[in-house]
């Protein structure tokens, strides 16, 4: 296997759900389309255009094959954010005569949630379904939310923060029975579990290349042809992509996505097997050395590439600071002035404290056993150190129930 060698002193990369490096095989496939084969795929009058178009169509086949779709059902976009915007707004606008109600989950990616918020401002109604403590949606709750005017439901196949897999076949079947369109954000599913638009009866599906060892800035929307799903374009221009998404196609990016998708499917079994061993090693390693660690999200209906843990009695930002030797994401977004706990973990019913002190370990194609072992040692040492410093940990050891304490809130 091709290896990407990172300089020694860089942090260990365990943030594969955030993004992935481009696989060297993918880079190799892309390069000629930046240099000698630079033509515009829309140029019909010369060979530069023809060879670019051929490459785009080959990539379309590769992406379609990865999700068991027809190549004519693939629309190129700039990424999954755009794909989800196009799918949800596009369908809502097109079918608004039929109804103006949509359903989604509280734990969706922002690309879906913020798009739904925008539709609410336009007068649509959106139901944000609660999930259970394990992160999975209850099918009865889902069914109960369906209304005669529901036109679309959008569900995240694999959650980007906690890796849980929703029961997509059951949801797809139920939505088809109710004639409600099914949009699936499969960004974190592709390459990790088998994705089949027929098996889950998806009508629309968002995909992104940079989570599957392809380049950033390219994604795709699957739009079902039978029965035909219609969407209103959100970007207008030269009428590319059968009018659904105008703009000159970035041939090299598309070639990269095609190659990445094909490779992801080829390597899925071997990658997943190895990654599962690493995930188990990480979990056992940490929990055997550190007490009061909580797993966020179901462990059974979950991709092995993700482990999300909360470390009680230590504060999230100091934990991230302590773990600067590893590149991970935390459940607190300390980007703004106030520390916002993850809305996904809050939706699971986690306290602010546990949401804040959560760490997402994302394991990927290039993660090694040595990196996992180094991570275990670092986490054990740093959590131990922070707990030495923590009055809450001391109180916990003394058997004091922190919920019974009257805190002088400020």
């Amino acid at each position: 296997m091709n290896r990407i060698v990172l300089p020694e002193q860089r942090p260990i990369y365990l943030d594969y759900q955030s993004t992935t490096p481009v696989d060297p095989l993918v880079v190799e496939a892309m390069l000629p389309y930046l240099t000698e084969n630079f033509g515009n795929p829309a140029s019909r009058s010369h060979s530069y255009g023809w060879s670019a178009e051929k490459a785009v169509e080959r990539a379309r086949e590769q992406v379609a094959a990865a999700i068991h779709a027809d190549p004519r059902e693939i629309v190129w976009t700039s990424g999954a954010t755009e794909a989800s915007n196009l799918a949800i707004k596009g369908a809502a606008h097109f079918y608004s005569g039929k109804g103006r109600h949509l359903i989604t989950l509280r734990t969706e990616h922002k690309a879906t949630l913020d798009t739904c918020r925008q539709l609410e401002r336009e007068g649509f109604e959106v139901t944000y379904l609660e999930v259970q403590e394990n992160g999975l949606v209850d099918l009865d709750v889902f069914r109960a939310a369906l209304r005669p005017d529901t036109i679309l439901a959008s569900v995240l196949y694999v959650n980007n923060e906690i890796g849980v897999i929703q029961p997509m076949e059951e949801i797809g079947k139920m939505l088809r029975e109710h004639k409600v369109l099914f949009h699936v954000d499969a960004v974190q599913a592709l390459g990790k579990i088998p994705v089949d638009v027929e098996a889950i009866q998806a009508d629309l599906m968002s995909l992104s290349a940079h989570k599957i060892y392809g380049p950033k800035g390219i994604g795709a929307l699957y739009v079902r042809r039978k029965p035909r799903v219609r969407i209103e374009a959100q970007i207008h221009g030269g009428g590319h992509e059968r009018g659904m998404r105008s703009g000159t196609l970035p041939t090299h990016q598309i070639v990269g996505m095609g190659a990445a998708a094909e490779l992801a499917v080829q390597l899925m079994d071997s990658d997943s097997k190895r990654i599962r061993q690493l995930r188990d090693r990480l979990l056992v390693g940490i929990t055997s050395q550190v007490e009061e660690v909580y797993i966020n999200g179901d462990m059974e209906h979950r991709v092995p590439h993700n482990l999300n843990l909360s470390f009680a009695y230590v504060e999230g930002e100091s934990l991230i600071m302590a773990l600067k030797g590893i590149a991970v994401s935390s459940g607190s977004a300390c980007t703004s002035a106030s520390l916002e706990p993850s809305y996904v973990l809050r939706a699971l019913g986690k306290s602010d404290e546990l949401a804040h002190s959560s760490i997402r370990f994302g394991i990927g194609r290039y993660t090694t056993e040595e990196e996992i072992d180094a991570t275990i040692a670092l986490v054990a040492a740093k959590v131990g150190k922070l707990r030495e410093l923590s009055p809450l940990w001391e109180m916990h050891l003394e058997g004091i129930d922190l919920n019974s304490v009257q805190w002088a809130a400020h």
Binding site: S318, D352, E353, L389, W393, E394, L402, A409
Partner: protein, 133 residues
């Protein structure tokens, strides 16, 4: 979040971590903050017969700036009389640690912790009310 070198120094080498017996009459304990707000500081002072703070210890649950603020004040209060310690201002802490505006509340909490520890000591020792409050 970019931290100043001083914050990182206190965070990596916190001074005076630990605690004293809170039932000891020569000890004053101040616990401020709340877990849900993301920071809890416990500052303890040990006061000698001359009314001078001869030792101080802390434990903090909080971000790097909160840990650094409390570590710093344990150094500052040592050797001070209670009245002198009462004059420590959050702005001095923030300035010393070069805290960014979003972290000023950490220095406020550290000041509150000193005041709470002194108030606890005073209430244990005859309930002399704080003169400067």
């Amino acid at each position: 979040m970019a931290y100043s070198e001083k914050v990182i120094d206190h965070y990596e080498n916190p001074r005076n971590v630990g605690g004293f017996d809170k039932n000891d009459t020569s000890v004053g304990t101040g616990m401020v903050g709340a877990p849900a707000c993301g920071d809890v500081m416990r500052l303890q002072i040990k006061v000698n017969e001359q009314g001078i703070i001869e030792d101080a210890k802390f434990k903090t649950y909080g971000c790097g700036s909160a840990i650094a603020s409390s570590s710093l004040v344990t150094e500052w209060v040592k050797g001070k009389t209670l009245d002198e310690a009462m004059t420590i201002k959050n702005s001095q802490i923030a300035e010393e640690l070069e805290l960014p505006p979003v972290k000023i509340h950490c220095s406020v909490l550290a000041e509150d912790a000193i005041k709470a520890a002194i108030a606890d000591y005073r209430s244990k020792n005859g309930g002399v009310a704080s003169e400067t409050h």
